[in-house]
């Protein structure tokens, strides 16, 4: 569907990923690649292993088998914090904000790996450059805040925000990492139509203007179809389809397992 052909070299490549928890096979031999600059969606029924896949990429889970390469580097054994530093940011399906921190601090935590001054310089603050650095990054964080339109809640404590706003703050925090690849786990959940429209807009902007590759899990087929370049479908931990949205959604297996036969919301629209 997209004219702007993305760079074809994969930024992320997962090869033969399997993940097992005792008897539960969350993932079985899943391989896929995300190309630089695209919006890639993973869909599939509940419990199919989508979040587990994202967890494998961001390092929360270590796959029982398989290899994950990011930017040409094998990251399968890397700790989660190292992956963040390499440029993988993410949001969470069940919100995982720092509930007692202000929104601003939450986002500043995203800058963690970009800041250099450790605790000693932090304690001295004025001497040693911590202050300068803080202020420089603060400027960039404010840009993100402006972009996501959360200025009014900057100083609010994250835990008291309504659900939708928290999702947005989480997105801001992930963006603050300056990631090359951003993983979004159901970014639209719990939003009404107009909020979804805004969120979709943010995501396409992040992709097109901020140059981030996006990997997204989403159950809203309208969004998935409209904004993603390619889609992968998981079912019971296996990949059952991958390709352009239209083609994938037309796949009979997908209709059966995921959409239901009268897939209302999945109707394609004219661009």
């Amino acid at each position: 569907m997209s004219e702007e052909t993305p760079d074809l070299a994969p930024i992320l490549a997962a090869e033969g990923i399997s993940l097992r928890f005792g008897g539960v096979r969350a993932l079985t031999d899943v391989s896929f690649a995300v190309r630089r600059g695209e919006i890639f969606s993973i869909i599939g029924p509940n419990g199919a292993g989508k979040t587990s896949m994202v967890n494998c990429i961001s390092g929360r889970y270590r796959p029982t088998q398989g290899q994950i390469r990011f930017d040409g580097q094998d990251i399968t054994r890397l700790g989660p914090n190292r992956r963040a530093a390499l440029g993988i940011g993410r949001t969470f399906q069940n919100l995982a904000l720092f509930g007692h921190m202000t929104v601003l601090d939450n986002i500043m935590v995203g800058r963690h790996h970009l800041l250099k001054s450790g605790f000693l310089r932090g304690m001295l603050y004025w001497v040693g450059g911590a202050q300068k650095e803080e202020l420089a990054h603060r400027r960039e964080v404010e840009e993100i805040i402006d972009f996501l339109e959360i200025q009014p809640v900057r100083k609010a404590v994250a835990g008291t925000l309504p659900y939708g706003l928290r999702k947005r703050v989480e997105l801001a925090r992930a963006v603050a990492l300056k990631p090359k690849l951003i993983l979004l786990d159901e970014p639209m959940a719990g939003m009404n139509l107009e909020e979804k429209e805004d969120m979709a807009r943010f995501i396409t902007d992040l992709n097109a203007e901020w140059g981030m590759t996006v990997l997204m899990i989403e159950h809203d087929m309208g969004v998935v179809m409209d904004i993603s370049h390619r889609v992968m479908v998981l079912d019971f931990g296996r990949k059952i389809a991958e390709g352009e949205p239209d083609a994938v959604l037309a796949h009979p297996e997908v209709r059966r397992a995921y959409l239901g036969e009268d897939a209302l919301e999945a109707e394609p629209v004219e661009a």
């Binding site: 979040t51 967890n55 929360r60 969470f92 399906q93 069940n94 995982a96």
Partner: protein, 297 residues
């Protein structure tokens, strides 16, 4: 090597350890219902022992009556505590509640000293045969009786948490009070129940120790002993608590053996359980039987 001494110390460790296990169970009970670490557990023992002593010596009640009254008293004691102290703290962070139990500990420690004095007081004789011979070791009859009681209590708790509705409610309350409320569980009632049961069970241990050593404020030291025991077993496991207690008892006695035979450092008796605790935690961060935190995002 002196094997007969070692054997005797081992036996002693087992017996004392079972008693630690009982205290540990009452400790775990509160933890499972509210995630609160009860620093006043030792004082529960103390109150129970003093009250029983009071019934037996001042009121001259026969032991069984006095003991039964004590249990009733302790139940009320737990309930009152819950109403006065714990209920207002519902919804506060766990650490505040933990601090409150520390305050309770200080309060009752002093109160008991004030009422009953600082001197150790003996219990009147209870069993016709004060001690029996087991494998060459003279064992206080009360200890043996307590062994039976603790096994019973353990089985009861095991059933309670696995199968009964109120056990489930307790676990849910510990997990998240708001969720428990949304399911129709009365959080204050759950707390009341757990504190009352816990007070009763620790009173059993308190009376046993009191009968053996006499009652004095030092009894509350069992409250500290209980920490290595519950952690060794895993904070939320009833079986673990008992095993942890036994391990602590054994560690103490074996450490004492090693110390008395070779090292002559002294104090190994008291410190060894803590070394054991650290070692086990290094290998198993959730104790021997504790359940892992769920780490899913």
């Amino acid at each position: 090597m002196d094997t007969s001494l070692l054997l005797q110390l081992t036996l002693n460790g087992l017996i004392v350890g079972m008693l630690y296990g009982v205290v540990a169970m009452s400790f775990v009970l509160i933890y499972k219902a509210s995630q609160v670490v009860n620093f006043a557990q030792g004082e529960f023992l103390l109150v129970g022992a003093w009250v029983c002593w009071w019934f037996l010596t001042e009121w001259q009640l026969p032991f069984y009556a006095g003991f039964a009254f004590t249990l009733v008293f302790m139940m009320l004691f737990g309930l009152v505590l819950q109403v006065v102290v714990l209920r207002p703290l519902i919804g506060e962070p766990v650490i505040s509640v933990i601090m409150a139990t520390i305050g309770l500990g200080i309060f009752f420690q002093a109160l008991m000293k004030w009422i009953f004095g600082v001197f150790a007081k003996p219990f009147p004789p209870i069993f016709a045969m004060e001690q029996v011979r087991v494998l060459g070791l003279e064992v206080q009859t009360v200890y043996l009786a307590s062994l039976g009681v603790s096994l019973l209590i353990m089985a009861g708790f095991g059933w309670f948490f696995k199968a009964s509705k109120h056990g489930l409610a307790m676990r849910a309350t510990a997990f998240d009070q708001q969720v428990a409320q949304s399911l129709g569980v009365s959080v204050p009632k759950v707390f009341a129940m757990s504190w009352a049961i816990s007070a009763v069970v620790s009173a059993v241990a308190g009376v046993v120790v009191g009968v053996v050593n006499g009652v004095s404020s030092a009894l509350s030291f069992y409250g500290i002993k209980v920490f290595p025991a519950v952690i060794l077993g895993g904070l939320d496991s009833i079986l673990g608590a008992v095993l942890g207690g036994v391990i602590v008892g054994l560690l103490e006695n074996w450490a004492h053996y090693i110390d008395s035979q070779w090292l002559n450092w002294g104090n190994m008796f008291q410190i060894a359980p803590f070394y054991g605790l650290v070692l086990i935690l290094l290998i198993k961060p959730y104790g021997l039987f504790g359940t892992k935190n769920i780490e899913r995002v």
